[in-house]
Symmetry: C2
């Protein structure tokens, strides 16, 4: 079954919740709310919020309890794309076939829209009940998104010239730029589902493995990153290993964890059988 | 007595706490931590964190309890300056006699340093105990910093052409761009001091009046903003009124609130007797 069909209920729930929580109002700043919405409603796969909902369910929680953190995670992801696309960073004009936020709304508004999304993610999490849970989520997400997490990965991506990227450097970029937020998505879901320590750590490790697999497979699809230092065959092997490890982590959860297994298998299916460009060396 | 002498204990405490909490570590992202520190340690007046400490003390708390939120407020202020100075926004090369963050570290790093400071402010607040207090602070600060607060003011500042700025437009920009964060600085101090509702609202109103006075006086000193639509005499009158109102709010706090009165009087002293440029019209 296709990802979109299998997770229809989850995707619809995330979309509906995002529409409800996103700020939109008359008054001076409507343009920034337009720019923020433009960045959030882009037809993405919603991999991170779906992971949050699925992780919550896997530890026995209802998906409703995970919707706020799922939105917060997606806002952080969206802000990071808006700022990464800016001329001073990756200078990308197009994302998913549409003009990037700064091409559509101008650079100033894109910077502020990113700031707004980042700020708003924490404002949303502050609404989670009870207070202790909200706080654990804010701690987790701010750490994952900050300079020891996602921003640190982006800095390394800017600071290390392509010719100096060995496997440890690429691992560092991948773990931080992509892995930490995906791991946090799983952890926030487990927290929303009131997971006991053992399951929380299980989901944390699941998020870690699947985050690394996600980046490795993306690199194969984009012919970027890891393909520069790993033979195509080895990168396929690495990805399959990571996904196998992630699945092993959540097997003990039984039937409740089966959607996590599906999510891992969905990534597995994206692994190209053969890479288009011969990069074996 | 000079501000720096009167508040020496407070300024030293803020400086020491900022030095302790700011991230600084070996590994790939040291440059971003350098850029963040560059933005934070600029020799500013620390008006907002001093207000936080003073507000805490005014409701009976010790300044130690207000140091974390005071730092968080200053990080938000610092991030906003870094992003406002960017070429796509105000395009400022110099701030307080030194190259702006993007002139020193490049545009990409300045964008990410701003993101890092914003993220880190919430990470710091998540450490406040108890959880319910931390959460109230995060809610307050994220709202004040977001699109209905500071970012909204910045958007209006970009979106409304100078020739269309009437008094309501200037009030909107001033209230949002400057006022909301100053108000939040007072509220976070009151929350840190475990203020009862009546005093919390008192400090909220104090923060509101003093935030508006702060901007009005800054405009007089910079010959900007309000000086375009108000006669110099009327603007002086407006500032004095706002400061008088702020002082009335905290008078009932008695001796404990006297440092807030000093803070208000300190602003009063900054009002120029005569403006250099004749803008009366």
């Amino acid at each position: 079954m296709k990802y979109e069909d299998y997770f229809k209920k989850y995707l619809d729930a995330v979309e509906a919740k995002l529409k409800t929580v996103m700020p939109a109002e008359e008054k001076h700043p409507p343009v920034i709310h337009d720019a923020m919405a433009y960045a959030v409603f882009t037809g993405g796969k919603r991999f991170r919020p779906v992971l949050t909902l699925t992780a919550c369910e896997a530890v026995g929680g209802s998906i409703e309890k995970a919707l706020l953190p799922a939105c917060a995670v997606e806002l952080i992801h969206s802000y990071s794309l808006v700022h990464d696309d800016l001329p001073a960073l990756d200078n990308d004009d197009v994302r998913r076939g549409k003009p990037t936020c700064h091409k559509r709304y101008g650079e100033a508004m894109a910077i502020l829209a990113g700031d707004g999304l980042l700020t708003y993610a924490f404002q949303l999490l502050a609404q989670v009940k009870p207070a202790a849970r909200a706080l654990s989520m804010i701690e987790e997400l701010s750490t994952a998104a900050g300079t020891y997490g996602m921003i640190g990965g982006q800095v390394a991506d800017l600071a290390i010239p392509p010719e100096d990227r060995d496997l440890p450097a690429l691992d560092y970029i991948s773990v931080h730029k992509t892995g930490k937020l995906i791991k946090a998505s799983a952890v926030l879901g487990a927290l929303a589902g009131d997971a006991q320590t053992e399951n929380l750590e299980r989901l944390r490790r699941f998020g870690e493995w699947i985050g690394l697999a996600f980046q490795a497979i993306d690199d194969m699809l984009d012919q970027d990153g890891y393909v520069q230092v790993l033979k195509a065959k080895d990168l396929r092997l690495k990805s399959r290993d990571l996904i196998a490890q992630s699945k092993r982590e959540v097997k003990p959860l039984g039937k409740r964890g089966e959607k996590l297994i599906y999510l891992a298998d969905f990534l597995l299916e994206r692994i190209p059988r053969r890479t288009h460009v011969a990069v074996d060396r």
